[in-house]
């Protein structure tokens, strides 16, 4: 482009006030989490200061907590299902938005984005009413339907961006060389979207594992992990919850960093694109 996009303008004065302020903002963002992690090792509970008697006791307790691990399994099932459904439908929707013209196309695009922009309670309640009206019992299935539906737009946005980046001539070349559209899809289109698919899948997985608002209204007898923790909170808080939260945090961080690396590799430094408008 020829235009210097990365600060080749020298800062003529070191902006120390701004730098300090930014540091404080980072502190604000991370301090609560640091405290939470610290107190997961505290024998004497989640409050008070300073934490004494550091121990792994709560982690041992967590390890033997069957109900928690059951809920983890439930969450994994739902998340796995959500990834499959969202990716499939998201891929189709992205292809449709990229290549097809049909009445109501702009409505579809907006409709698909709605669950991400609207507060979760609205989507959750709507689906609850739907489930009741078709006599569908609340269970992991309803949760799965909720997640799958709500997260389609994540997949659509990501895959649409990937399609736009793709060189259209590749598909034309494939057809020119004798491949059918079906073959072209599997041999050319899909491989080009590999990175987008992985990146979208990771994000959907993480969002599904953490989802509460929509899940709140669709949960049946079996809890997902966030809902199990929520139920515990009602009974009283112990550092065991700190422990499971710490583990969730660590896993999330790893997943998010992997996701970020993949995405920046895929789209270049425009990783902001998905994030700026979910």
């Amino acid at each position: 482009m020829g235009v210097p996009m990365n600060g080749s303008t020298q800062a003529l004065r070191r902006p120390t006030v701004l730098a300090v302020y930014s540091l404080l903002v980072f502190a604000f963002l991370y301090l609560p989490i640091v405290v939470l992690i610290l107190y997961s090792f505290n024998r004497d509970g989640v409050g008070g200061f300073p934490p004494k008697n550091l121990t792994f006791h709560w982690y041992r307790l967590l390890f033997n907590d069957v109900a928690i691990w059951d809920s983890v399994l439930n969450s994994l099932l739902v998340a796995g299902g959500a990834v499959v459904v969202s990716l499939t439908l998201g891929l189709l929707a992205a292809l449709a938005l990229d290549r097809a013209e049909f009445p109501g196309k702009s409505i579809l695009r907006r409709l698909v984005l709605l669950p991400l922009i609207l507060p979760g309670i609205i989507t959750g309640l709507s689906l609850l009413m739907f489930a009741v009206s078709v006599n569908l019992q609340l269970s992991l299935l309803t949760v799965f339907l909720g997640h799958g539906t709500a997260l389609i737009s994540v997949a659509t946005t990501e895959l649409f961006a990937g399609l736009q980046k793709m060189d259209r001539a590749q598909e034309e070349a494939s057809l020119d060389l004798g491949a059918t559209p079906w073959q072209t899809f599997w041999r050319v289109t899909l491989p080009n979207l590999k990175l987008s698919l992985v990146s979208a899948g990771l994000l959907i997985f993480t969002l599904s594992m953490d989802e509460i608002a929509v899940t709140f209204f669709l949960i049946g007898r079996d809890n997902t992990l966030p809902l199990e923790i929520w139920a515990r909170l009602r009974r009283g808080i112990t550092p065991e919850i700190n422990a499971i939260s710490t583990l969730i945090f660590c896993v999330s961080v790893i997943l998010i960093l992997i996701w970020y690396r993949i995405r920046t590799r895929n789209i270049g430094s425009g990783a902001q694109e998905l994030l700026e408008r979910p």
Partner: protein
């Protein structure tokens, strides 16, 4: 070839202190491990059209940005009108820039763009509209005053960028390859307009380009940069006629290089020999293609004559380039177009046209 404008020839030696507007003193610039400018010194006289000419990576843009204030020299100083310039931030310098991609503000109209510098430096509100209108008139963009800059063509944006810089009456105007994004015809037109504008206003222009034709057409003096150092600073005619180095010889215009052995005042290259004032030993000579003539019966007494085979003929309208081959040497000759011609012919050149190059 572009018609050369009658340009004021300045002395090749630096003008003395009272005639210097801008002085670059032993300025070096390093980016990390790379030294982009190596102890460069340059003086620019008031009212002159000076061009920084060079390939990409030669340091010409860096030097411009140092003068504008967007970079700081690693060592060295820059002075303007007897005062230190490089310690001032860009917004305090009486220097304005026309950027390569124009850098017009997309959220402001043409009028607002042009008036921006006047507004932020606190020029009297009543004065601004008049000066903006005058600047727009200068670049012939008055009727676009209320337009959004994003709606304008490249050439139009370029004029607005020019107006925006000139309206502030800077002491020095910096132009960073402003014509490189325009197509060939528009470019030629803008060159003519720029030159006459500079003449009319008398503002000192420092112009950066990699295009030697452009440099020759526009400049009072050219500063040729190579790898961060100045090869030669002189008027276009002077550089063309007496290139100081082989790089200068081949960068500005086209040339042939003749490697000759000099012995007691005679230079010998293959079958050619001529009188030369160089000391004994190996010497390099630059011979412009248009200095080689096709022998058509008569030639000056001191002419160097030789025979060569015409390998290729490259037609370009009024003239054509002949690629010549002779034992141990290939040359190019530019002659008036004369229809297809092949085979071995006789050629000649004047010894005074063979310019010795310092190596």
């Amino acid at each position: 070839m572009t018609p050369a404008n009658p340009s004021t020839t300045h002395a090749d030696a630096a003008p003395n202190a009272t005639e210097t507007l801008l002085e670059v003193r032993f300025v070096s610039k390093r980016f990390g491990m790379r030294e982009v400018l190596k102890g460069t010194s340059l003086q620019i006289a008031p009212g002159e059209f000076m061009t920084l000419l060079g390939e990409s990576g030669s340091g010409k843009t860096t030097l411009l940005r140092l003068i504008a204030g967007f970079e700081q020299p690693t060592s060295g100083e820059i002075w303007m009108s007897g005062e230190r310039l490089d310690t001032l931030p860009p917004y305090k310098r009486r220097v304005n820039t026309v950027f390569q991609n124009y850098a017009l503000f997309p959220h402001l109209t043409v009028r607002e763009n042009v008036g921006y510098g006047l507004q932020v430096t606190g020029v009297a509100k009543a004065e601004i509209p008049g000066r903006v209108a005058e600047a727009l008139r200068m670049v012939k963009m008055e009727e676009y005053a209320s337009s959004r800059t994003t709606k304008l063509s490249g050439g139009q944006q370029q004029r607005v960028a020019l107006a925006r810089a000139l309206v502030n009456r800077p002491k020095l105007l910096l132009l960073d390859e402003p014509l490189s994004a325009l197509d060939a015809n528009l470019r030629k037109q803008m060159q003519v307009e720029l030159k006459s504008l500079q003449r009319e206003l008398g503002i000192t222009f420092l112009f950066v380009t990699h295009d030697q034709d452009e440099a020759m057409a526009l400049s009072d003096r050219i500063a040729l940069l190579k790898d961060g150092a100045l090869e030669q600073v002189a008027s276009p005619r002077e550089i063309y006629a007496h290139p100081a180095t082989s790089y200068a010889a081949q960068f500005i215009g086209h040339t042939n290089f003749l490697r000759a052995q000099v012995q007691t005042g005679v230079a010998k290259a293959g079958s050619m020999q001529w009188a030369a004032a160089q000391p004994d030993g190996s010497a390099l000579f630059s011979l412009r293609p248009e200095a080689i003539h096709l022998f058509s019966g008569s030639a000056p007494a001191a002419a160097v004559r030789f025979r060569a085979v015409i390998r290729q003929q490259i037609f370009s309208g009024a003239s054509e380039l002949l690629e010549l081959e002779l034992p141990g040497q290939s040359l190019r000759a530019r002659v008036a177009a004369r229809g297809p011609i092949t085979g071995e012919h006789e050629f000649w050149f004047s010894p005074s046209d063979a310019v010795a190059i310092c190596e």
